[in-house]
């Protein structure tokens, strides 16, 4: 067991956990932040996506011991970001979600895309969102919502 100081959504947090614990489970069980989801545990689905020092990161495979001082932003905090808010609003206005379980990860990936490529093409969207699974299959509406958010941010 070791103590780690984390910055999550701008706030300082301290946890005492086994160093091998993935960031995902630190967020969910130590910090009770369940917006970041467990879908597979092997970085195949992206439901666990957070931003680590601004980079979309799959928290299920990152042991807490490798996080260091890098600031963490989760779905609970992404709305404070202009692009994050635009993506969430677009997701709602385009009625993207079905079961919704994958959508935290989808949104975090989409925000990373738009912050880097504000006017993405279909090919950009397909590449950047290419590793996020949606079992319900809401991909058609995800594409539309990203375009809507992009227009809003322009």
């Amino acid at each position: 067991m070791q103590t780690y100081k984390l910055t999550v959504n701008g706030q300082s947090k301290e946890v005492n956990v086994d160093p091998s614990t993935p960031l995902l489970w630190v967020l969910r069980e130590e910090l009770k932040m369940t917006g970041t989801k467990y879908g597979c545990g092997i970085s195949a689905c992206g439901a666990c996506t957070v931003h680590l020092a601004g980079i979309a990161t799959r928290s299920c495979v990152v042991p807490i011991s490798l996080v260091g001082g890098r600031p963490i932003v989760t779905i609970e905090g992404i709305g404070e970001d202009r692009a994050g808010r635009a993506v969430q609003d677009a997701w709602v206005s385009e009625d993207v979600v079905q079961c919704g379980y994958c959508q935290s990860g989808q949104i975090m990936a989409a925000v990373a895309l738009l912050k880097s490529i504000p006017k993405p093409t279909d090919a950009n969207i397909e590449a950047s969102m290419g590793g996020n699974l949606c079992r319900c299959g809401t991909y058609v509406r995800i594409r539309k919502a990203i375009m809507t958010a992009s227009q809003k941010l322009a």
């Binding site: 067991m1 956990v17 086994d18 091998s20 614990t21 993935p22 489970w25 969910r28 069980e29 009770k32 932040m33 369940t34 917006g35 970041t36 989801k37 467990y38 879908g39 597979c40 545990g41 092997i42 195949a44 689905c45 439901a47 989760t74 779905i75 609970e76 709305g79 969430q88 997701w91 709602v92 206005s93 009625d95 993207v96 979600v97 079905q98 079961c99 919704g100 379980y101 994958c102 959508q103 935290s104 949104i107 279909d122 969207i125 397909e126 969102m129 290419g130 590793g131 996020n132 699974l133 949606c134 079992r135 319900c136 299959g137 809401t138 991909y139 058609v140 509406r141 995800i142 594409r143």
Partner: protein, 730 residues
Amino acid sequence: MAVASVISKESGLSRRSFLRVSATAAGGLIVSLYLDSSLLAQPKPPAKIYPPDAFVHIKSDGGIIIQVNRLEFGQGVQTSLPMVLADEMDADWSRVVAELAPAADVYKDPVFGIQMVGGSGSIAHSFQQYRELGAKTRAMLVAAASEKWQVRPEQCRTEDSVVHGPGGQSATYASLAEAAAHIRVPENVPLKNPRDFRLIGKDTRRLDGRAKCDGSLKFGLDLDLPGMKVALVAHPPVFGGSPKTLDDKQARSMPGVVDIFEIPTLRKGTAVAVVADKFWTAKQARDRLQVDWELTGLGKPDTTQLSQDYRKIAATPGNVAVSRGDLKALETSNPADQIVAEYEFPYLAHTPMEPLNTTVRFDGDRAEVWAPSQFQTFDQMAVAEVLGLTPDRVTFHTEMAGGGFGRRAVPDSHVQREAAVIAKRLQGTPVKLIWTREDDVQGGYYRPMYVHRVEIAVGPDGLPAAWRHVIVGQSIVADTPFAAMLIKNGVDETVVEGIADTHYEIENFHVSAHQPTVNVPVLWWRSVGNTHTAFVMETLVDELAARAKSDPIVYRRKLLNPEGKNLIAVLDLMDEKSAGWRKNLSQGHAVGVACHECFGTSVACAVDVSIENQRPKVHRATVAVDCGRAVNPLTVESQFQAGMSFGLSQIVPRGAITFKDGYVEQNNFDGYTPPYIADAPTAVDVHIVPSDAAPSGCGEPPVPVISPAVANALSHLTGKRYRSLPLTVL
């Protein structure tokens, strides 16, 4: 009526005004189980009077909470059923909040007689019910107002949660709620004329949309209770196995591990439960278990062996599902005028995005369960049975689910049983049982493997002169409470649906099925039998069309009989809406067409497909649907856009569960891979046939048509016929 415990929401509701739940489910008899859709035409049992106050709570601040008698797992029912009720009630939609109802007699599906979601029946079976509930609630509010104002109810009108009297009086529903609760529930209330609908039929965004986008909505897996422990179970690698030796020393030594013990599991097997303070501890502890499994004497399924065996069996007639006319033409016709085809379909896993989970707390004389369950009645009974309680002593909360597709509707309630056994041992402590993704992929309850053998004699007119069809594969409902209703003459109807009841005019038609016993637990996978039957029918019909040098849409119109009029209508609509792009295909693209009716809904689609990097790329799909009255057209559109992407699970390269010497070969999304965005259609336009008919379902109908449509397009591109899924080689 005894008052059961109120659901533990923190809204401070008075029990009397909110929930009166009848405690009549003791003994667990299933009443009025009508699953065969043809039986729906028969007179229903006497209509229950559903107490509106079990479904609607009007808060003093004007908020309206509507109980949904279904699990919400993506299909949008927590918006569409409240829409129905709120419309008849003339409620202010902006104040409506939906909740998922707990397990209780009053929330049972009116047709099936159990609380459940499945069979695409949510709207179909509860549309009338929720209309009546809304109308009755309105009537009671109007009665209260008219009594207060000493006017006649007919003199009042309602709008957006306000009753307006003839003399300019008005009162909000909130102000009338208390008085309305004392009004006797009217038996018969007139329903709205559909032209007066304000919500039904209009695109309405989901009520749970925002909460699913900001991380605030809690699913079953997110539940957190004081003192809660997490349990993982090490299951035998072959169904029915048990530990020969168990060394848990290393596991027990980990800090945070609470207990490790054996529990019964499915197929009379024994598993090992690990209980710990948190998930990661439990997982590490389970990884450190040293188990030597006893597997002798167990059936060891093997895909290669099953494939050989099934093909051999398919050459012989099975139990008869359909026998009309005669098959002489098959004997007399030239082999050149015959199509002989063998199709093979693998086991499929559902893998809903939210892993399976259930939380149980056992307190000795009662228990509480939290589960994202599609089968609340069965699951509640199962937990009660394990804990030695009557079902009414088990409070069963329905949690929001991250997908289901049939996986959370298990007749033997095996996940809930495991959780209950563990909770029993840890009496007083809530235990959350989680199946990891590996447990899920390897844990069984798959869509069965099937082989079809089809022999068609093609007549001189290009239409089928005779058709022999043999299907081999496990029965889904055998050894479940559904067996009596759905197995006829040794044939499980869910195996042959989509073929036996086809609307294609096949005068000389013989359909039979063999249902072998295999040591693999199986289950319905979104659209059930239609998953494989529609693929066979729609690719064969396309092949017949090609042989007759006929356009595939024209051919289908010709082949469909009058009972298929809804299918003809959707073909026409699809034809009209896709004609533009079908005539302007890019180089290297082809169109594929398919149509299918299931669960009362007719669907036709056309897809634009090319081959890129050796994979089918679906650029666009045009879909036409007849689902009767579309309660929420936005939901219908969503279901078809997303459902088609789901349907493509069947064709993506790693879309198969395979067995080798008894072991499942895949264990996570790396080996069993659902469609990603690149595998899904880029654009899907959905067109709904305008209709006043009673609503039918949209949960499953999107799934069967997409795979054959894509295969048909590929056949145009490659000249090959595709007989086995997934499509690994084009």
